[in-house]
């Protein structure tokens, strides 16, 4: 059973795993920022009274939310470079590189999920606040950026963070296109050295520690917010 559990393998792989972890964290952070930004735009579009804005945004969000992340990764990873070439008309257009392909895929995917959270958050801001803002003479942009979004985001922070923890877990799926994130690094060494048990258990442990700790802090944050509001 564990009699030949080899810690040496893990120790010697640490620098490579660390690089992989940086990849995972970088991808998570950038996709989170990009996803929240794009998600906010999508949410504002969905809430817009103009159908020309709300319909396409709604269609995009519902479509993305109905297909698996792996399929989205394949879409962007294989087809975006080809699309770029066709649009630019240059058959040798510089590729955008695997990290950025993955980043675009995750940003576009997560934006659909963030959008729905942000939409709910915006709707949770009492209408009176909007009316008051307009009564004070603010225009739409000012009312949105100065009054509605700050309040909406305050309410949403815990759930946005929870979603981002899931995003961090999901980044492991770049494995399917052979990239070296934390899980990719672990599996490359695992397969090269035939040490699956050690490396996959180690990866599980590290993911658990990070996600558990992060969720714990989100819970604490949430509790504090609730106190503040009551």
């Amino acid at each position: 059973m564990f009699s030949d559990f080899d810690f040496e393998v893990i120790v010697s792989a640490l620098p490579f795993l660390w690089e992989g972890m940086m990849f995972s964290l970088g991808l998570t952070l950038l996709a989170m920022l990009g996803g929240i930004f794009l998600g906010t735009l999508l949410a504002l579009m969905r809430l817009s009274p103009f159908k020309i804005l709300s319909y396409p945004a709604g269609a995009y969000v519902n479509l993305i939310r109905s297909i698996p992340l792996i399929l989205v990764i394949f879409w962007f990873y294989f087809l975006i470079p080809i699309a770029v070439k066709n649009i630019s008309g240059n058959p040798y257009a510089a590729g955008i590189g695997p990290f950025y392909s993955a980043l675009i895929a995750f940003t576009m995917f997560e934006a659909a999920y963030y959008c729905e959270i942000i939409r709910a958050g915006i709707q949770s801001v009492p209408r009176g606040q909007v009316h008051a803002a307009y009564a004070l003479g603010l225009n739409y942009r000012q009312a949105t950026t100065l009054v509605i979004l700050p309040q909406a985001f305050r309410n949403m922070i815990p759930i946005l963070l929870t979603t981002s923890i899931i995003l961090f877990q999901d980044t492991s799926l770049v494995y399917v296109v052979g990239l070296t994130d934390f899980m990719g690094a672990a599996s490359k060494i695992a397969r090269r050295d035939g040490r699956l048990v050690e490396l996959y258990l180690f990866a599980a442990l590290i993911y658990f520690i990070i996600c558990f700790t992060a969720s714990y802090f989100v819970k604490r944050l949430q509790a504090r917010y609730n106190v503040g509001r009551n």
Partner: protein, 305 residues
């Protein structure tokens, strides 16, 4: 967080560079000049062609030849600061990534097949191998026909997968195939007993066996199910770049430098475990080096399809 900074740098650099290109080249060479980087696709476990050493850096026979090509590109473009960037690819991703422009050369263990030639171009053949199977010594398997009704693991997207499946269809063996993502994973399926056999290019099987924990437990057997000439892949319809690549490879053949590179990877101790494959150059490869060519092979090995 190097990557994050480099993202922003890349965004700015991308904006600054576009339009400021030197106008004389086209295609891949222009792309390399514009970006200052030549991107080389490598594999994780194509021993000894393209795999990771103990520090997880890509090395191998194919990687060495690609680095020679990078040197030639550097000389031709007169760019002393040309950077080489390695991008990991798998059997499944290598062609889309190449045609999509994320790599400029693929240096792995790719069979030059007529079918792939519709998508990509190949440099002159730099290795000759063919499909065989690896099995455990105590499995009782003596040839392909013993695989009847057994479980066989295949690496997705390889010519060996097709050769084995075509053979299975022709002989009606009813083999149960399980797919794996890379050769190391496939070999592991045999090592752990999940599959009885793994069909692959024989040289890669020698490499995998040599790096196994107990190499003596395995045998590689069978007649060649397919002939697999390996070539470095690049994009199609780019005569200028292809000429540079071909000239470089043929140059290595003519000068005899290829023998040095060959000996380094096939007849000496190689990382990560210091094993020696002891695999002298085959007559077929000697022929291919004497008469450099980029002729491809059919899709289904020696079966018709």
């Amino acid at each position: 967080m190097k990557r994050i900074t480099s993202l922003f740098l890349a965004l700015f650099a991308g904006a600054a560079f576009s339009g400021a290109a030197v106008a004389q080249e086209s295609g891949t060479l222009k792309k390399i000049r514009d970006t200052g980087v030549i991107k080389i696709g490598h594999r994780d476990a194509s021993i000894p062609f393209s795999y990771l050493d103990e520090k997880q850096r890509p090395i191998g026979y194919g990687v060495d030849i690609c680095l020679k090509i990078a040197d030639a590109v550097q000389a031709q473009l007169k760019m002393p600061n040309l950077k080489v960037e390695f991008v990991p690819v798998t059997s499944q991703t290598r062609i889309p990534i190449l045609t999509g422009g994320n790599i400029d050369l693929e240096c792995g263990s790719t069979t030059n097949s007529i079918e792939r030639q519709k998508q990509v171009a190949f440099a002159p053949t730099y290795f000759m191998t063919g499909t065989k199977i690896i099995v455990k010594k105590n499995s009782g398997i003596k040839g392909y026909d013993d695989l009847k009704g057994k479980t066989v693991v295949i690496t997705q997207g390889t010519t060996n997968e097709r050769a084995m499946k075509a053979y299975n269809d022709e002989k009606k063996l009813g083999i149960n195939f399980i797919p794996a993502k890379d050769h190391a994973e496939s070999f592991l399926a045999v090592e752990t007993g999940r599959a009885v056999a793994f069909p692959m290019d024989d040289i890669l099987l020698f490499g995998l066996r040599a790096s196994a924990r107990n190499p003596d437990d395995y045998v590689i057997l069978g007649e060649f199910l397919s002939d697999d000439p390996y070539g470095i892949m690049m994009r199609r319809d780019d005569a200028e770049f292809k000429k540079l690549v071909d000239d470089t490879v043929i140059g290595l053949y003519k000068s005899g430098e290829i023998n040095k590179i060959y000996t380094k990877w096939f007849q000496s101790k190689i990382p990560p475990r210091g094993i020696n494959l002891n695999f002298p150059m085959s007559d077929a490869l000697k022929q291919a080096i004497k008469n450099p060519n980029d002729t491809g092979v059919g899709a289904c090995g020696k079966m018709k399809c």
